[in-house]
């Protein structure tokens, strides 16, 4: 499904010295740089308020970065506007904390919302979507284990089902990259592990790269071959899960939070097995 638009070897996404400042207050991101390689799944960990969500939202320009660059295929997204920006956005599927579906629309409509960037306005108003897109939506629903639910309203679904509709909506964009913001925040431990393996499987099968924000370190260790630690708007760790030790976690989460992290770890181990 993934079309190899990027030349072999080059990064799928480059973020250079990204700064985000809200109003006159303190910087939320203080110069974040990272390269996301093709087919690479990166887990982004950090305490609440460390800037994890802001980083993903800034890459998508939901938050306007103050300075820096976000480079997709050699093009800086911060210089784009209008239709060009919308085309670039189509290539980065975003999966949200709390799923962000339109509750009063059907499952099918929510999935097809992922095609709005390439569907004409009046066609979409009349729900006259491209037959190929509709067929693909059906296939994605089957792949997500949601077949037969296409006409259900999204607010009737369970939390895990909603999250899978959100994944289908991101995939129908035909993205090269998935940006995933706390996909397990509203799910119980078992459902969290299922959603994480679904996302990582999809990335492997479709050859996508992904940045996944996680507050749950054990989940990040288990599913992400590369982990980034964000602390107060700066990247303080970049390496494999095996390199994550208590010292580094203290750096990422801060002195006082280590104890609660240990709690998270023991709970997570139970869940993981």
């Amino acid at each position: 499904m993934s079309t190899d638009r990027t030349p072999e070897g080059s990064a799928a996404l480059e973020i250079e010295d990204l700064v985000v400042r809200y109003g006159k207050g303190e910087d939320v991101l203080r110069g974040v740089s990272l390269e996301l390689q093709r087919h690479e799944v990166v887990g982004l960990i950090g305490a609440s308020g460390s800037g994890k969500s802001t980083l993903l939202r800034a890459v998508h320009r939901l938050v306007e970065p103050t300075s820096g660059a976000v480079i997709l295929d050699g093009v800086n997204l911060l210089g784009l506007a209008g239709p060009e920006l919308r085309q670039a956005r189509l290539r980065m599927g975003m999966i949200f904390q709390e799923h962000a579906l339109v509750g009063r629309l059907t499952v099918m409509e929510n999935v097809l919302c992922g095609t709005l960037g390439r569907t004409g306005f009046w066609k979409s108003v009349r729900r006259n979507f491209e037959p190929n897109d509709v067929e693909e939506a059906f296939r994605l629903l089957e792949r997500m284990g949601l077949d037969g639910l296409e006409d259900r309203r999204c607010d009737e679904l369970s939390g895990g089902q909603k999250q899978r509709v959100g994944i289908a909506r991101a995939l129908i964009q035909h993205p090269d990259i998935l940006l995933v913001d706390e996909p397990t925040a509203s799910l119980d431990p078992a459902a969290s592990a299922r959603i994480m393996s679904l996302i990582t499987e999809v990335c492997a099968e479709d050859g996508l790269s992904a940045i996944i924000n996680l507050h749950d370190v054990p989940l990040a260790r288990r599913f992400c071959p590369r982990i980034l630690g964000l602390h107060a708007g700066r990247i303080v760790f970049d390496g494999p899960p095996s390199a994550l030790n208590d010292e580094i976690l203290t750096q990422v989460y801060g002195e006082e939070a280590l104890e609660s992290y240990v709690g998270v770890r023991s709970e997570g181990t139970r869940v993981g097995d």
Partner: protein, 274 residues
């Protein structure tokens, strides 16, 4: 024994608590209460309560109520029928046109959807629409377009846009922004975001408010008729000025019946559609 002693001790040491006064100074509080009371007394004295006129009014009320106990639907039926049908079409047209105009204004007056200048212009326009009571707007339109239902429809359109536009904007400002962000990240344009992200969330409110406004517009159509803007109100004024209280009674009963019918129908629609 010991326990009782301990309890007494606790009472002695108990700390008093009163809610903090809204106005700190006792003198200022007293001054405010006294001056408000004085003003009300003086104001009441300027109203000129005249026992003689009240007595006269009571006997006239007898005629009025006497007429109302014998409603006459027959004598003026052609006038009443024309007036009612006119009111109904004024209501339907004004509500539909008003709804169509209020949607763009309502979206434009939502802080979370549009840039600052658009917001200010739309909010301002909606405030102007609501600035005057329907009667004043009706007098204005009657002066502009002459007597008849056209002035009435214009009046109701203005009132409907002011009402629906403002309440729609408030509903839009309360929506969940996460689905809108999701549509943005899928490359959706502004109109697509409105159609797929905003309207589904506010549709129940739009429907409920429109049904409510339909109801208000029918009642208003009776009121603005009094100043010449057509409809059942015009028939009502004519009957009043001819002292035909039996016909007045019939008209009022019909208005009540229509409002009841509207209530039943809108309740039914709400249950079916929401």
């Amino acid at each position: 024994m010991y326990a009782r002693k301990g309890h007494a001790l606790a009472t002695d040491l108990a700390r008093a608590w009163r809610p903090p006064p809204r106005i700190e100074s006792r003198a200022v509080r007293t001054l405010i209460v006294v001056s408000v009371a004085l003003y009300l007394l003086v104001a009441a004295l300027t109203v000129e309560v005249d026992p003689g006129r009240i007595r006269e009014g009571m006997s006239r009320a007898g005629d009025l109520f006497g007429g109302w106990l014998r409603p006459d639907f027959v004598t003026r039926w052609p006038d009443i029928r024309t007036g009612l049908l006119e009111s109904l079409s004024m209501t339907a047209v004004a509500t539909a046109v008003g709804l169509m105009i209020s949607i763009p204004f309502g979206l434009g007056a939502s802080r979370n959807l549009v840039p600052g200048p658009v917001y200010v212009v739309c909010r301002g326009a909606l405030a102007v629409f609501r600035a005057f009571n329907e009667i004043i707007v009706a007098i204005l339109f009657v002066a502009m377009f002459g007597f008849g239902p056209f002035a009435g429809v214009m009046t109701l359109v203005v009132a409907t846009v002011g009402f629906l536009g403002k309440l729609l904007a408030e509903a839009v400002e309360e929506i969940d922004s996460a689905p809108l962000d999701a549509l943005t990240t899928a490359g959706a344009s502004w109109p697509s975001r409105v159609v797929f992200g905003v309207l589904p969330q506010v549709m129940p409110r739009i429907l409920g408010l429109t049904l409510y406004r339909l109801d208000i517009n029918f009642r208003e159509s009776a009121v603005i008729g009094l100043v010449g803007a057509g409809g059942i109100g015009a028939t009502l004024t004519t009957a009043f000025s001819r002292y035909e209280f039996e016909s007045v009674s019939a008209i009022l009963i019909l208005i009540i019946a229509m409002v009841f019918a509207a209530e039943v129908i809108s309740g039914h629609l709400r249950r079916r559609l929401l």
